[in-house]
């Protein structure tokens, strides 16, 4: 980013972010992941302007029609265009993935920072709660929270986000423990900086890389979790489309209209694959041990 904003002539030294970007660009599978993710993000963003049918418009003359020229991906049990529902559903899925991870990072990273930086009983308290939450299976925790909050897409996002918090607490804590013994942290204390300044400007920036990788990988998990919650009726509510709820309906028509299940299934598979490949690529690119 700095390379774009500064108008300096060709730099001889390579800034670390440039090096990471270069490595990412030469990594085929990461590129593939990036293309998939970018594709879904673009169609999700472009949903309102794409020349597609209204995802909620029913048609009694086109119930459970196989893919055709009029309906490229076919229609569902009440004649809605599946292509249109897939595209609008991408919005729900991606939004759920990104927003829930955002919540998880926003809550988890500060707790991890505090836990790792201060240590002592603060660390004990935070770590024990984290351990307890991690002992509960991710999806079970999300289902319990979503059921408690009530069924809606927003609540599903909150539930998934909170369920993913312990992952980030633990990851951040571990990274902070490694970074806080660095000489520059001692140096920051030696010039009288406050704990807040040291945590915010000396430790956080130096633990961000693994958090970014974990966040990307967790988006994939969160998308599956959202689909699962929607499948169980705890996420996106009818008639608004989401891949999970489309699968839920499709399971009743597996023999009569299998395409109803193909597309959302394939989309979930692809987007999760994309985020995983991208995350793995980021991990390799940001790993300082490899050159």
């Amino acid at each position: 980013m700095s390379a774009l904003t500064s108008a300096e002539p060709a730099e001889e030294t390579v800034r670390p972010e440039n090096r990471a970007w270069k490595k990412l660009k030469t990594n085929r599978s990461a590129q593939f992941g990036l293309v998939i993710v970018a594709f879904f993000i673009i169609i999700a963003l472009a949903a309102p302007i794409l020349p597609i049918d209204d995802p909620l418009a029913t048609s009694w003359s086109a119930v459970r029609k196989a893919p055709s020229a009029a309906h490229w991906l076919g229609t569902d049990e009440i004649g809605r265009d599946i292509l249109s529902r897939m595209i609008w559903g991408a919005q729900a899925s991606l939004l759920a993935g990104v927003v829930s991870v955002f919540i998880a990072v926003l809550v988890g990273v500060p707790f991890g920072l505090i836990s790792g930086y201060f240590g002592g009983w603060t660390d004990q308290a935070i770590s024990r709660v984290t351990d307890a939450l991690l002992a509960t299976p991710f999806l079970i925790l999300a289902i319990a929270l979503a059921a408690f909050l009530g069924p809606s897409l927003t609540n599903a996002m909150i539930a998934i986000g909170l369920s993913a918090v312990p992952i980030f607490v633990r990851l951040t804590r571990g990274q902070v423990l490694a970074v806080k013994t660095e000489d520059f942290v001692e140096g920051a204390r030696a010039v009288g900086l406050t704990h807040t300044a040291i945590m915010g400007r000396y430790i956080l920036p130096n633990v961000l890389a693994p958090i970014l990788v974990q966040a990307t990988l967790t988006v994939a998990t969160a998308i599956i979790a959202e689909a699962s919650l929607s499948f169980l009726g705890l996420g996106q509510q009818a008639p608004a489309p989401s891949w999970g709820s489309m699968l839920n309906v499709a399971k009743n028509f597996m023999t009569q209209a299998p395409w109803m299940a193909w597309w959302p299934g394939a989309a979930i598979f692809l987007v999760v694959l994309g985020f995983n490949l991208l995350g793995d690529g980021l991990r390799d690119a940001l790993d300082p041990r490899e050159t």
């Binding site: 140096g187 009288g192 900086l193």
Partner: protein
């Protein structure tokens, strides 16, 4: 050494009988440390690795957690404050402001994800009521003063874009950005190339002359000591064994450890025989003699040395040594003394 130091001036930092003990340790890690520095004066604390030099510095900076390193006795008067008594918060207000420290490892002592100009400016912003622009201006001025070429274009560099010597210059710029009254330098040149070492030492000396900062230099490099020290304080295994003006320490060392230290310095030119070394090893903390800690290695040791702790006796003008038998040549007239130094 012809620096204009007012010998009657009150010391800016005066440490009296400092003793620290790590929690659970059987003996004090440092004991009976006393020294004072006046404005513009350079005090070198010398001793081998593990003798407590860095612990002394870190405890003065308040950088050792008090739950781990307990102050057993002593005071460290800095102006009207006893540094050992100040709260963490008050200590943090002093650090980087009126008392600063330079570390040993310039390669790792700067935040890798933070531009150096911002790092220096942050220290100014933390302690002075200035605007961001003024702090940045100050950072630029400091980079200039530590002789970083093309300082204005270096301001936005990340630490990894600088060499070790340059990074140490940045560290010095940070430490001096607020014109501290006392600068503690903990082996600032150990990690650098020999040629760079000389430049950094010259730079520190020059800046000290300009600012009148009192300098406490921790080192085990006697060449550095000879070059910049006004006074020297020799430590061995946590005890102060000798202190005095640099000339006295080099020309007329009194404590057997100092004598051994001086004769183990290699010098340019022919030498007859092998380089002298002090035999034996520093005793472990759980195996310290209750008297003089140098006893097991001392060629002059007598039976009472291991049991009674010798006081720091005045032997010459502001020259003290902690040895029961100092001056040695009057007590052991038959002993042959190797010519100290070169």
């Amino acid at each position: 050494m012809s620096k204009a130091i007012d010998l009657n001036a009150a010391p800016v930092l005066s440490v009296e009988n400092l003793a620290l003990r790590f929690k659970g340790a059987p003996a004090n890690i440092i004991d009976g440390i006393s020294f004072a520095v006046r404005p513009g004066e350079t005090l070198c604390i010398v001793g081998e690795s593990g003798c407590g030099k860095s612990v002394t510095a870190l405890s003065l900076m308040g950088l050792l957690p008090r739950s781990v390193a307990q102050v057993m006795s002593g005071t460290a008067m800095f102006g009207d404050h006893d540094l050992l008594e100040l709260s963490q918060r008050a200590m943090a207000d002093l650090r980087g402001n009126t008392i600063s420290m330079i570390f040993q490892e310039p390669m790792t002592s700067l935040n890798p994800s933070y531009r150096i100009g911002d790092q220096i400016a942050e220290v100014v912003l933390r302690h002075k009521s200035v605007t961001r622009a003024e702090a940045r201006q100050r950072a630029l001025q400091m980079l200039d003063r530590v002789k970083i070429p093309a300082a204005s274009s270096r301001l936005d560099d990340y630490p990894h874009e600088l060499s070790g010597g340059m990074r140490q210059r940045v560290m010095i710029a940070m430490a001096l950005a607020n014109d501290p009254a006392v600068l503690i330098a903990d082996e600032p040149t150990t990690a650098l190339d020999v040629t760079i070492q000389a430049q950094i030492i010259d730079l520190i000396e020059e800046l000290q002359k300009e600012t009148g900062t009192a300098l406490v230099m921790i080192t085990h490099d006697l060449g550095v000591v000879a070059e910049i020290a006004d006074r020297v304080c020799v430590m061995y295994a946590g005890h102060m064994v000798e202190d005095g003006p640099v000339e006295a320490i080099f020309d007329d060392p009194q404590h057997p450890y100092t004598i051994g230290l001086m004769s183990s310095v290699p010098s340019v030119g022919p030498r007859s025989g092998r380089l002298a070394a002090i035999g034996g090893m520093v005793p472990a903390i759980d195996n310290m003699p209750s008297g003089c800690r140098f006893t097991p290695r001392c060629p002059f040791a007598q039976t009472n040395c291991a049991v009674s702790q010798p006081p720091l006796d005045e032997l010459g003008p502001s020259h003290r040594a902690a040895c029961h038998y100092a001056p040695l040549e009057t007590v052991f007239p038959e002993a042959v003394f190797q010519e100290a130094g070169s």
